[in-house]
């Protein structure tokens, strides 16, 4: 009979634990789901920068920052700066009286020098070293003034390096006292929230910085919870365990209509595109690639693969970025089928006959679907598409050797157009130039934009580069993809133009 007693006892314990309501639902902290586990909290060693960005920018500040909901750069720790005529020396003045967290003292020019020079130092082996590629040194003038010395003007300095992760300022004293490894899990910055803990669930807890120099933070505590599975994020949002998370495209309509939640669709910073291999037969034929631009209809891809939620992309860049140029749309309805049949004929493929193309793509459900759609669209013009769905490794091998006619790719971007455009340079053929396209003028314009701080010149050059790509009909921009943040409707969250949460600006 011991059995029965044991059974009753277990049942009792189970019921008792059930009566404790979920702890997370009640505490006063703001819980934000992030797509992946943070890898390190040391800005000099971030590998996957985008998912860590909301956490890092809550703890640290840079000299400059992006203004809320734009990519416009405004002062943050710096009060003002002056660029020399040569563009190789920039004198910054820091705001006075800014204090590091946990009594690590006042922010001075020493900390800035330390933060930047530890990234460019050779033995640091920092993945961010490239962001500062032309920085020679930082020269201290006095406590609040310092000079960045560059070996040549650096285009991306203000658009991407300084306002992004590489430009975040750490406390010199904290890194030296703790050592690099310990600092990576006990970061000390000047930001609106102070690092509190990083637990075994990989949750990162921050508390309010009472002495913050700018608008003070609204929440006593913020918790970042890494949740890789989107369905789990949805369920946790509904059970009240997280306050801000992402929705899946399948359930977006259902949940965003609920009274308790608000949601918005943002474009991602990435670019998804169809690339034509223009280096070999048959797609080295501009007439033919032009015909393909009309035949392949990205709108159908958007409906099938993104549930009609994603917008069509017209550029590698988002419209908010410097140098955005809207590529012309090629719509079959506008020109009529006859026009395309003629293009095919002029290209040497009357009635499309005998044309077989090789298409390589990733071996996942979504990409296979896209491939099947394109196959169907091409078949209407008697063009046969042979699809090869591959794992990443072999796919990259084929990309680099150029053994394909068409491919579908997704490249993650940054806010700096120079970074995003570099993959289509001639020197990238055999690496990441999927068009296998070479254009001397494009290369030169890119190089010129890298070495100027003039926004006007850069903008003009980038527009021209996009026109060059469009003239040669080298591919089709499909979409930037989507981010689908959702939040409890009593919150007022603020996002960047690409839908990344800015936790320090959230109001109740």
């Amino acid at each position: 009979m011991k059995f029965k007693v044991l059974f009753k006892l277990t049942l009792l314990i189970m019921i008792l634990t059930l009566m404790v309501t979920p702890g997370e639902a009640q505490d006063k902290s703001l819980n934000i789901a992030i797509p992946g586990r943070a890898q390190t909290l040391d800005p000099a060693y971030l590998q996957r920068v985008l998912s860590d960005w909301p956490v890092m920018n809550s703890i640290f500040n840079g000299l400059v920052k992006y203004k809320a909901e734009t990519f416009e750069v405004v002062p943050d720790l710096a009060e003002e700066w002056k660029i020399s005529d040569s563009g190789k020396e920039i004198i910054f003045k820091l705001k006075e009286g800014i204090r590091f967290h946990k009594n690590y003292g006042e922010l001075t020019a020493e900390d800035v020098k330390f933060s930047f020079e530890r990234i460019i130092s050779e033995k640091a082996n920092s993945p961010e070293a490239q962001s500062f590629f032309s920085l020679e040194s930082v020269e201290i003038i006095d406590k609040y003034n310092f000079k960045l010395i560059l070996n040549r003007p650096m285009g991306r300095l203000f658009t991407a390096t300084l306002p992004f992760n590489a430009g975040l300022i750490v406390s010199k004293r904290a890194v030296e006292e703790m050592g690099k490894d310990s600092f990576a899990s006990n970061p000390v910055g000047t930001g609106p929230y102070v690092f509190s803990s990083w637990d075994v669930n990989n949750n990162i807890t921050l508390i309010k910085n009472e002495k913050y120099f700018d608008n003070s933070a609204e929440f006593e505590e913020i918790k970042f919870m890494p949740m890789t599975d989107p369905t789990s994020q949805e369920l946790a949002l509904q059970s009240g365990e997280i306050d801000i998370g992402q929705l899946t495209l399948d359930n977006y309509d259902k949940i965003s209509k609920m009274e308790k939640f608000d949601a918005k669709i943002y474009p991602d910073l990435a670019i998804q595109y169809i690339a034509f291999n223009t280096s070999k037969e048959p797609l080295n034929n501009k007439k033919l690639t032009k015909a393909l631009q009309y035949i392949i209809n990205p709108e159908e891809i958007l409906i099938a693969a993104f549930a009609g939620k994603a917008e069509k992309a017209y550029s590698i860049l988002l419209p908010e970025m410097i140098g955005y140029w809207k590529a012309p749309l090629h719509r079959l309805e506008d020109v009529g089928e006859e026009y395309v049949w003629n293009l095919l004929k002029e290209a040497g493929y009357p009635e499309g006959s005998g044309l077989e193309l090789k298409y390589i793509t990733d071996a996942n459900e979504e990409r296979r679907l896209i491939a099947a759609l394109i196959q169907d669209q091409l078949s209407r013009f008697n063009i046969k598409l042979n699809i090869e769905a591959l794992e990443v490794g072999p796919k990259i091998d084929l990309w680099q050797s150029g053994t394909y006619d068409l491919t579908y790719a997704r490249f993650t971007n940054t806010i700096d157009p120079g970074y995003n455009f570099q993959w289509n340079l001639s020197e990238q053929i055999g690496k990441w130039n999927l068009f296998h396209w070479s254009n001397q003028e494009y290369d030169k314009l890119w190089q010129d934009s890298e070495t100027t701080l003039s926004e006007e010149t850069r903008s003009k050059n980038y527009k021209k580069m996009q026109q060059l790509m469009a003239e040669d009909s080298i591919g089709i921009w499909v979409s930037h993809g989507v981010k689908t943040p959702a939040w409890k409707s009593d919150l007022k969250p603020v996002f960047s133009p690409d839908g990344v949460i800015m936790p320090w600006l959230i109001k109740k």
Partner: protein, 312 residues
């Protein structure tokens, strides 16, 4: 018994060595250039070279394998590519969560499974037995990930009774509370299996002669069942526990991902996605060792119940 034990322990060595060889060859079997796949376009050639040397790809394969073996036996699992931490530390941190989850899940499966099986055997051929059989078929054929999502939807979203994410803050109540959903989800499949096994084994036992003898002595029915029949009928169940722990370790991967719990399975899945090869190697090795020891424990306990095994 001692000789049997030693024999079994010696067999562990070739098993683990084989696992190590397979894990090591991962970086050679993966098509493509590992540094390029892992680091992507951001990689400079210095970063790629450093990664290759960390993965042992800059040496001929046998040298790389020997170095890898030497390091493993020194307890050095290498350094994670993306975490900037030792693989060993990362694994040690999450492994208690997986062990607790697996043990509690196994405990629930045995407890509920044996209970359902006994009831079904006791009320054989009744309507109640039909119901229990149906129940065990349903649980046995529900995949862990479906059970997990259903549990979250029902008990977290609808009734708000159990938390759907994490492993709690470390206190006993919180840990237990966070374990309910995952452990039930994990145990469902195995519960049905054990219930069916218990029922058939029990029915077989109840027809044996010694039970008839005991009945004729006038010993009460429940006493016969619990005292004599159960001890014999439970042997096949003990034998499958080792197998079950292995299966549950596999199921824990789904549960850990769905409930966002820290654990070995989740660690391996995340690392596969990130292509953090040193962590994948270390995690799979530890999982394999756990599996080997679970099987060993099952064999030993089986030998305890069946003395004939000891003599072989």
């Amino acid at each position: 018994m001692l000789i049997y034990l030693i024999k079994r322990l010696i067999w562990i060595i070739p098993t683990v060595l084989t696992v190590l060889l397979i894990l090591f060859s991962l970086s050679y079997l993966l098509p493509g250039e590992p540094a390029e796949i892992i680091l992507g376009p951001r990689a400079t050639s210095e970063m790629a070279a450093e990664l290759n040397s960390r993965l042992g790809l800059d040496k001929p394969w046998y040298q790389g394998y020997l170095t890898y073996l030497k390091n493993i036996f020194k307890g050095d699992f290498g350094r994670s590519i993306f975490r900037d931490r030792l693989v060993f530390d990362v694994i040690i941190e999450v492994i208690p969560h997986t062990i607790i989850l697996t043990l509690v899940g196994m405990g629930m499966a045995i407890f509920n499974g044996v209970l359902i099986g006994l009831l079904a055997a006791n009320y054989n051929n009744s309507f109640f037995e039909k119901f229990l059989t149906l129940l065990s078929y349903i649980t046995a054929s529900t995949p862990t990930y479906i059970a997990g999502v259903l549990l979250i939807f029902l008990f977290s979203v609808k009734f708000n009774l159990i938390p759907s994410i994490g492993a709690g803050d470390g206190s006993f109540i919180s840990t237990a509370h966070h374990l309910i959903g995952p452990a039930i989800a994990l145990s469902t499949g195995w519960t049905g299996y054990i219930a069916r096994l218990t029922r058939s084994s029990m029915l077989e036992t109840l027809e044996l002669d010694f039970i008839e003898t005991e009945k004729s002595f006038g010993i009460p029915r429940y006493y016969i069942i619990y005292k004599y029949a159960l001890k014999k009928a439970i042997k096949p169940i003990v034998a499958v526990i080792g197998l079950g722990v292995g299966r549950l370790l596999g199921g824990a991967v789904f549960v850990e991902v769905i409930f966002n719990r820290p654990g070995l399975g989740r660690l391996i899945v995340d690392s596969v996605h990130e292509r953090d090869l040193p962590v994948v190697r270390g995690g799979v090795l530890v999982a394999a060792i756990l599996f080997v020891f679970a099987n060993l424990a099952a064999d030993i306990s089986y030998a305890y119940f069946d003395p004939r095994i000891k003599q072989k």
